[in-house]
Symmetry: D2
Subunit: 450 residues, 4 copies
């Protein structure tokens, strides 16, 4: 139920770079639907096409790729923009500076952007939009270092917070991940070239092979000859991979943080079953995001997995506002319970998380109206009690229902017969989870950097 | 993998009739995505809004409903149009004739349209488009009968083939279903009024209650005072309900032909398991249409159901043509296998049908590439060997792979390790199937009317 | 200040027929700006492209002409449409009937459309829009005659009123003009082929040569071999050429009714000068429509012609409503007086006509504000006191200021120092006017047919 | 035949500031048709709406003005943009800097932009587009001065070239004109507030009163209380008003450089008649830009002024390329000769200037085809032999026909019977011309600053 912050992609060494970036953006569309763009380089110049809307809206004609020649490309899916201002923030952002032209795509959120912004404007910079990405570009332009890779290093060393970022210049493709490693960034082999993306589902669509993850604090430079240079010039920080990428954001068919997302979600469901079993007739998911966890819960408990909700995928933009005409119409337009499956059954709904609690309440009402005898909510992650400052679009603390209410109180509000969350310890003890240090700030408020 | 012919809806007796029709069209969007429209009546006039595209494209602003006043409405989703000609065929079709104004929405396909067309033009009628619906309107206009309901009866008596149809005039809402009963048409209670729709999923979204199905050959007239008059003036024919509505077209959360669609699909999967079991590690579906059948197959065989494909729902219109750049890119953009689930497994793919055989071949290749040891195809319906003349958009006989190839030959072409179809007898012997006579022409060529 | 009813064009015998029709429509754009379209024929089929908006909006890409192959074409500019209904009335209108396909474009207005409409619906025809053109098509479809030209004759014989019309079928291009000859229709030579258009300005743009005018009651058939057959099968009526075409509608560079429009307008101005001279310093026009008349007035009186108003041609559609913010803003956005020319001068404004009197009042105010000592209005036609029923979009009698007010009263309302109209006798006595009988119904109420 | 560089407007002290700016932009539309925008200020913030296209395209709905609250506004019409890059250059440009928010609109062209660009990027600035306006904004941001007006002064002191510019901040409306005074900038009284615009035709539409011109080198600051402060801090330069503004760019109903444009043009025509009379029957103009000069020529010589060309104002964007299908089609689509006026006449065509010579050649051919016995070209300005560096969109020297050919050679190329230009001395000796020093670089190559 979150909106995530952006998907990024980079292609090196393929004469169809822009088209491959486009396919990759298709695969990463779930990370952002409000805008997208691609920059390529050829003949010592950068070329850009970007716009508001889905990948299929912005790249609506094969002829567009004539405007994006070259064998190196970067691309971006953005999650939220409005009005005139919005367009300025659609990525990639391309600038001219003393080093020539450079463009970048960025996933994450800085925590020191206010002080960076003050520093830059106080010393005479001109800011157009209000994005972190623009700040990074200015820091690069301000660097006195002699080469582009060094200017980048210099700029990145001033950042605090989350960034998985890819730069393109006529000479280089450069990927970097912040020293905490909040957001994923994956490296693959694409023919004789390379691909870099937020998730490996972008590799599959173009038949690229997974190599490894870009490491926290790593800056990976691919030069004109395809020579790769990896270095770690940034100050070391405590590793803090966003566990919410595994719980909700990423596609289950992706591999990130050295693990298959689907596998983790399955185990989250299993562990939830161990911690909070229930006597029931069927297990259903809220499609599609909690499918894997629900399946794990069903497998562990032996309660049959059923398809309890049909999701309408033809929704698009709608002007329907909650409360209009029919109660819960916004949820009903998206989900409809399968009555024949639900009727007279004791139903377990497995969902991945509860944010404001409004949608899950509507779903419980719908399942009850469809004739369920009991409804038991099982959430495959701990209560979200704190906002995220590293790129997840959570609401304020006040709006997070678990920040002020206990699971029992939430259960009562939703109208469910029982509600159990997965425990933080249970989640972190999963054997499937690779050996990383995780950011769990949204659950426990322990922010790695502020 | 078929494209179906249209969804229809009618609303009687609600001051928000147009908005309710709009919600219903949302729920019926799977039956047609190329155009839609609504007609209402008030002050003795008809009002129309229609256009190309999805419901969310055509009805993109709440203000549109100001142009659709009145407490009676009909609506339509259309599945296929192109160019100028296309617009003329978008429904509802509204005409002026001696009886005043009338509009209608139609699902189905006539088999005597060529002879009707000849008759009408030979005797001086002017035809604009090439739709069956237009022919029906002309027959009404030509009728010498004194009242609108009688003129309708007169016109319908000249039709041969499939039609589930709803008419609106300033005085009446009239629903009719052909004497064979090819396409579904359901009746519900909506507050103090009525709702009529192709499927009951349109009832759920507006919290209407199911009453019963409109019967084959029934003409149901609702007059200005809400008095319902049902009669059966048309010549009786052998009942021939389209079994493909249950296998593929309708939403699993709908009830049509007196049965829950999901329940039938589950049993098709179970029966398929009984007929053609296989020694394997996992059962997967081709989401979302074969989910229920795959679940049934898994439950019956005891082989675990897994989510093997992730479907990308953000596709929209794309200019990508098969064969461009990457092999199978059209299928890959839509589906991606979950490698961690597939790898080294013996996989059963349950799909609902095979038409041309091209997509399933791509899916088999993708699953094999993802590391499956074996791939077994199980199809929850018999081989489709004959085109449909009653409103299903099947290709010609030549393009139907099963019309010229045996299951073994098809298996070889797809690259699967085995391929089994459900038998026709097995399908028809399902205890879940209600007591109807079915149209199985696409499987056995026994056309109820030609 | 009128909006005219439509421009029509036909091209025969040029492989670039659709592009030539397009250029012709450009030249005829002043006759209608709300919609346009072209139909061509090739391979025994008709092809159509039409839409709302200007020629440059609808035909916005050269590729469109790939959809309009063939060496015969007709085209149309329409003056007024709104909403869904509007699109149905955009011409050409293309139908299928017993004779195959036929399309037509029509300029004019029938007076017996209500009775034709009743006859057609009473006998079973289905009407979609509310245009005269559709009625004509139905009459053709109803004709029992054996050939298309005979069916046309049969249909046209039932019409009363004004029509200059061009039909296209795979076999024929047929032009016809009503027996009164209300609207112009001109014939030209285009290479080895032909061109037919509302005005000869459409000939100039494609370098066609003027041959002659299609005569009142003439039906001109061009068959596949380019053989021309002219005949006059319709009942003779009194000739009634619309004199307003010369006064206002047509472009001054056109020749219609056997005379150069500019020449007539010049003489209307001269005659006005003879009838109503005035002691003044300068003569100005309301650009561009009264330029010629003003020049004539100036030449005859010897008072210098000046450019007193600058007209803004970049207006496009605007949402500005009279009275908003600034008094007369709607007129001011279109015209601005040239102060240096006006100041302290006694000014004669020559305009071609006064309809409601609102715009001319604003212009008088603007000229006075610009410092004119006196303002004298001279109108190069008699007072318009009666509405037109033959295709000119005049308002109702109540709104025609001259229907209820004398010239002196109108003069007072506008704030001018004097106001004189050209006399009806003066107008008709012009030696420049060719030997025709004219329709002057808008001036004297003598309607040739009702 | 030139495309000019932009129109600017500023409004101070009217609660409908954005709507008034909009009307002003309508009046200035001739100075730029490719993009436009408005910025207002209220509640200590700036608000912006801008886009590609005409004023009527971008401001297509009255509701837009809800997004532009406040009683102070600036606006801009831009003349040329394409693609993504284009949008970035549409004005106003709004930035955030140490002084808060500021936006500006700019007419003119700097000559030291390359060195400014190098200086800025070398010292760490990030440039997005390639406009002069952006450079000015950066110089402001870089200034170390304590107040916004001082920062502006500091920035402007670094500029070389042409600029008439208006800035808006939450506290100030500031107008400035370069010390040479290349482009006009006029000051008016608007109720109790002020208006500043490129031309006074923008005053007339909102009923503002002319006060005076902003002087070369003047910086005029209007603060929150409406206090006006004018000062001249910039280094003095030789005055160099662009005489081409009078000859061609500005609207004839405007007053700029202390003179009525129409008056100057009339006198240019008269002087041309004195210098180069000819024995002919009629004088015609190329509408609308040379109307005044042609009238002057006719009045001086006594040869009758006639309307020889009808100009089609419905052209819009067209994809027609010269040479397509019909010779001279691009010119023919825009102009058509009035045959009845031209035939067998000795014609003088008065035009304001010749750039490449292509259009005038087509016009001569058209007039000859229309039957003229002789065609004499009279140009109301000297030969344009040098490109403009101060904001006029002239082509390169190579493309300027007069840079390499004598009037006689040009005459031959156009096919005219004679061709005479106004002499430079004749032009400058006009008694109508106010006492200014003029920029005549395009005629004599004497560039005031390089």
């Amino acid at each position: 139920m979150f909106k995530e912050g952006c998907g990024v992609i980079g292609i090196w060494g393929n004469s169809d770079a822009s088209r491959l970036a486009y396919f990759g953006l298709y695969a990463l569309q779930h990370r952002g639907q409000e805008g997208c763009g691609i920059v390529t380089t050829s003949s010592n110049k950068l070329h850009i096409v970007k716009g508001k809307g889905l990948v299929s809206d912005v790249f609506c004609d094969d002829k567009i790729f004539d405007r994006l020649p070259g064998s190196v490309a970067i691309g971006h899916n953005r999650y939220s923009t409005t009005g005139e201002k919005g367009y300025r923030n659609v990525q990639p952002i391309l600038i001219r500076f003393r080093g020539g032209e450079i463009a970048c795509v960025h996933n994450g959120n800085l925590v020191n952007s206010a002080s960076l912004r003050k520093y830059l404007t106080d010393t005479g910079s001109v800011l157009r939009g209000d994005s972190d990405t623009e700040l990074i570009m200015h820091l690069i332009a301000r660097s006195g270092k002699p080469t582009v890779p060094e200017m980048l290093e210099d700029a990145l060393s001033k950042l605090q917070g989350a960034y998985s970022i890819i730069f393109i210049t006529p000479d280089y493709l450069i990927a970097a991940r912040d020293p905490h490693g909040f957001r994923p960034l994956e490296l693959g082999k694409l023919g004789h070239g390379y691909i870099i993306a937020s998730e490996t589902c972008a590799f599959d669509i173009v038949e690229a092979e997974y190599i490894r993850e870009i490491k926290p604090g790593e800056i990976l430079v691919i030069d004109k000859d395809g020579k790769i240079n990896s270095h770690f010039p940034l100050e070391k920080r405590r590793e803090a991979f966003c566990i919410f990428e595994l719980i909700y954001f990423s596609r289950p068919d992706s591999k990130i943080f050295d693990v298959n997302v689907d596998k983790v979600r399955r185990d989250l469901g299993r562990r939830l079953a161990v911690e909070s079993p229930v006597d029931a007739d069927i297990v259903i998911s809220v499609p599609d995001s909690s499918n894997s966890a629900a399946l794990g819960y069903a497998q562990e408990t032996g309660i049959p997995f059923e398809i309890g909700f049909i999701r309408n995928h033809y929704i698009g933009r709608t002007f329907i506002k909650p409360g209009q005409l029919e109660r819960d119409i916004d949820a009903k337009i998206k989900y409809n319970p399968v009555k024949g499956v639900i009727k007279k059954k004791r139903v377990v709904i497995v969902d991945d998380s509860i944010v404001r609690g409004t949608t899950i309440s509507k779903l419980v009402r719908m399942i009850k109206s469809a004739g369920a005898k009991e409804v038991h909510l099982r959430i495959s992650s701990p209560p979200i009690r704190f906002p995220c400052f590293y790129g997840v679009d959570t609401p304020t603390k006040e709006e997070l229902i678990a920040s002020s209410k206990s699971p029992d109180e939430i259960c009562k509000l939703t109208g469910a017969d029982s509600l159990k969350y997965l425990s933080l310890e249970g989640m972190l003890s999963l054997s499937t989870l690779p050996e990383h240090s995780w950011c769990t700030a949204c659950f426990d408020g322990k922010y790695p950097v502020l």
